[in-house]
Symmetry: C2
Subunit: 680 residues, 2 copies
Amino acid sequence: MNNYPVMMGLVGIVGLLVAFVFAVLIAKKPEGTDRMKELANSIHEGAMTFLFTEYKVITVFIVVLAVILFAFLDNKETALNEGLYTSVAFVYGAISSVLAGFLGMQIATKANVRTANAARTSLGKALIIAFRSGAVMGLSVVGLGLLGISVLMFVFNAMDIPMGVTLQLITGFGLGASSIALFARVGGGVFTKAADVGADLVGKVEAGIPEDDPRNPAVIADNVGDNVGDVAGMGADLFESYVGSIIAAMILGITSLKLEAAVYLPLLISGAGILASIVGTFFVRVNRKGNIHGALKNGLWVASALVVVASYFIIKYMMPTDMVMNIFVALVSGLVVGILIGLVTEYYTSEHYAPVKQLADSANTGAATTIIQGMALGYKSTVIPVILIVVAIYFAYKFSGLYGIAISAVGMLSTLGISLAIDAYGPVADNAGGIAEMAELGKEVREKTDALDSAGNTTAAIGKGFAIGSAALTALALFAAYTSAAGIKVINITEPQVVIGLFIGAMLPFVFSAMTMNAVGRAAFDMIEEVRRQFRDIEGLMEGKAKGDHKKCVDISTKAAIREMIVPGLMAVIVPVFVGWLLGSTALGGLLAGALVSGVMLAISMANSGGAWDNAKKYIEAGNFGGKGSDTHKAAVVGDTVGDPFKDTSGPSINILIKLMTVVSLIFASLFTVNGVLGM
Amino acid sequence: MNNYPVMMGLVGIVGLLVAFVFAVLIAKKPEGTDRMKELANSIHEGAMTFLFTEYKVITVFIVVLAVILFAFLDNKETALNEGLYTSVAFVYGAISSVLAGFLGMQIATKANVRTANAARTSLGKALIIAFRSGAVMGLSVVGLGLLGISVLMFVFNAMDIPMGVTLQLITGFGLGASSIALFARVGGGVFTKAADVGADLVGKVEAGIPEDDPRNPAVIADNVGDNVGDVAGMGADLFESYVGSIIAAMILGITSLKLEAAVYLPLLISGAGILASIVGTFFVRVNRKGNIHGALKNGLWVASALVVVASYFIIKYMMPTDMVMNIFVALVSGLVVGILIGLVTEYYTSEHYAPVKQLADSANTGAATTIIQGMALGYKSTVIPVILIVVAIYFAYKFSGLYGIAISAVGMLSTLGISLAIDAYGPVADNAGGIAEMAELGKEVREKTDALDSAGNTTAAIGKGFAIGSAALTALALFAAYTSAAGIKVINITEPQVVIGLFIGAMLPFVFSAMTMNAVGRAAFDMIEEVRRQFRDIEGLMEGKAKGDHKKCVDISTKAAIREMIVPGLMAVIVPVFVGWLLGSTALGGLLAGALVSGVMLAISMANSGGAWDNAKKYIEAGNFGGKGSDTHKAAVVGDTVGDPFKDTSGPSINILIKLMTVVSLIFASLFTVNGVLGM
């Protein structure tokens, strides 16, 4: 027994403490006018209402799954109560994920109004508030993740449970994280897009009032949506990847590398990453030129450089000399590839580069050509990320085997504390803009919040690249862990049950996307009906004399999100178990591989098509090709609306789908036979 | 040595003779008015101009590839001149495919005007002409395919070349078929959609003249497009599947079943299928109620029933008693699944069922919701076909191993003579309608051709289902043949090079779709510019006093199609060879599997989204949700335009991509090492 779990648990706590300090600093800032307070309060309340409603449903799911784990996972030969401990770890993981989302949202819904208020005086101060809010989310995620794994490690070590079994139990923590992630992503994604589309279609298009106009009763729901989708949803997503990559690396440390030091290495690297991220946060400041984008990236570069240096020494300290460089290369390849995928995503989705400009140009010939071009852009944008992922796999494996692949995922996610901060900053800036508009703070304030928001859109692209790249590598590492847990050395594509698995697996992301896209459609329809009803029934609403019932809109989005998240969520858990039982463990392996590869393509293409349509519209709104109100703009709006569920609901949910299905398979691996009941 | 190749060669010739008789019968029918003759002549000329331009480019490709085969495929140990013979077989396959396409187009461009003329008096007579034209295409494809393989079989047998080597050489015939197929599909697909979109956008939308209006100079090109895309393209596609499935089954007969009778069985079943198809054609007649749709399906049912019965006796005659039922089950499962996939396709794309009606309804809320719903529909429509394919794989393998999978593909395609006839009938009916409109034959004629056209749209759905289902099973059978040719027993997904292959493979259909979608966009843009120019520069064109330069439009579509088909075509040949060389034969196996599963999903979803958008528009045009000219209709037109390249260019090209890459890998299998030059 060693002290690493205690040390890393402390590092996790340090992360949480820094998050707490940032939260206190934010809370101390003034909120501005009464109108601003009122608006912020409505958003805060709406977000919390959604979260608590969601938690109620999730609790049922968690309890049921915990009972199943408890009942089915005991290994009669060992008498170690695997079922009980896995179940406990699972609940702990779920609670940690919920807590990370809750903390992130709490502070985001406080920071939005304070950012808007700070923007009345200074861009730099506004940036600091918004960014620190993101950092609270980022550090909560990594802090709770590292703390959770360390605590479980410490406890199971203290109970003298063998290392192999301990890691199997800790996988329960990952399952908890994954389950919450799926519900949070799908639920949050449906909520935010239903509100967004509803607010836009009735408000902007039918009633002809501007975006974020206070008369529009769906605007509060739209702002709530930014928080539940982009803050809580994204946080849960990356909490899962973070935890998953660490657990997979630990498992492969023992099964593939057969070295106990290799089990602790991912913990230590992640610990170094948390400290590096904390340091990085202090480098985020606006220079004299007001370059926000550069300021945000600075923090990431500093943290990345620190992690690389620290990791080298950690690896040197922990591992046998002949392995040091090999593992270091694997780690760095993951980190570099993560950043490169982010930059490629930026290239394809930012209005500063050719693809989005050409997409905007295609809107000149109407909505149809915009859609075709945008789809093609998304499909084409899979090439470089796939090559990068493949190169990372090649180098990681060549130098350190399967363990190398897991370590490259750990490397990619080591700076999550700050990269998630940069990402979660976006919706806060977006909300601040909404509040500035609704509270009628004037043009110069709105300009500052717009500048913050615009930088957020670009850095969000980097975040999405990270999310997809890390999901791919994490899923792959978890997949490798699954095969060792299931006791299968070979999953042979020339065998029919594996081909069957591949086909079914490749299909799942498509069906899943269809379900989430339809979910947004249905939810948006409910919202549209309600907003129309309010404009019709509430006298004086259009004239600004009466107030809309924004709570009702939040309520509709909440109900729709909860209703729509259940079936896809259950599907992700039930299908792999069913296929494993019916067709056996190698067919399930095929399913996971099929879902991984087709899911990565769909996720990348949907995210990039959606991002590109969004920015093509903004590019036109900035005065190009006829600007706002032109036919070209109308065509671009169609693209943007199609892109909304692509980039904010279906696409990101696929990331989680592929990880969750793999974790579920890993947990239940011991229950499947090679041939299943239908045996080939 | 036995007589089967001679017998089956004769059956092939019988098929060709019947096609010839049908062609003569069609040619004897009157062409109608001078205006009709002139129009038909323009379409015929345009189609031939395109074909000959295309053939010039293809010839270069064929010669180069033939030289490469000649140079690289000699096996020094055997002194059998494998390179030379493969090269000859390849050229023969390419010529057969070209010939099938040429014959089909020749007759289709004669039948269109005669169908229009017959429609002036009788619906039944018009149906017979259009259907027989389709049958010429169908019987040419299967006749040339079976004849080709039989001739090569006979010659190589006569030369005393060992069976294993013979089958390897015959694969060259399949490569020839596949290469032509890709160029024909991509080229034809780009041609037809460039013309279609160009004619629609400028004619219908900008100039406000009806579809097929003679003043529109792109209308001839549009009608040419139906022939080069839906007749020649579809024919080459299925020629490839047909030949590929037979060759794969023959190879697996020797490598998997190790029985010479198993090598000849697929030939005999295909022969029975040709005769059954011929019989089936005589059952296609309109009953008193004028049910065209039913008449077409009747022919297919009769042929299918005959093939099932005949196959049972053939299998009983050829194979050891204990295998008879097993192989028969595999065969029937393929045939049944093919038909079921067709019916599912019809369900998702016909305006008679809920999905298309709901899609039309979604057009009420604008273009964006139409696109989202249509995409979701396509994604969702992958579920049942995938389950059906998987069930076919399960039963086929369970009962007869890998050979069973190949035989199920042979079963599915055995009735191709008539199922392709039903499919190729569609564009003839479509053309007839165009000619009726341009020659101003009056409303009652147009109504008859519309009835023919509408039935064609539905049966085309069945054809597309067959094309996708057979592509999946054929590619899988070819894949199995590849692994045995490459001498690999295991392609293990837990090995990184296989995962790398899977990722790259899954990406290729996405990139390929992006390329073909962009190609249509660019080509349509050229066409739009030209039509606009003509309306602007040619005085009296709009008033119907001057004639448009339709040759120029055909020329633009031709040039664009040729230009755009080259890169995707080369990619399909070069990428697998490159990956096989770089990363080895198991990585290439992963690539093929990845491309297969992601390609099938994309192909199904694109075909069905596109088909559904097309028919949703027609459903609205029939007077629902406000009918023609309403905002709902405009939204539906956007969906239809997006769907055009989906269903007629990108989607069907993917079918060929996955087959062609597998055949290329099979041909060059002996050149790859297990680890490639980058070795893991």
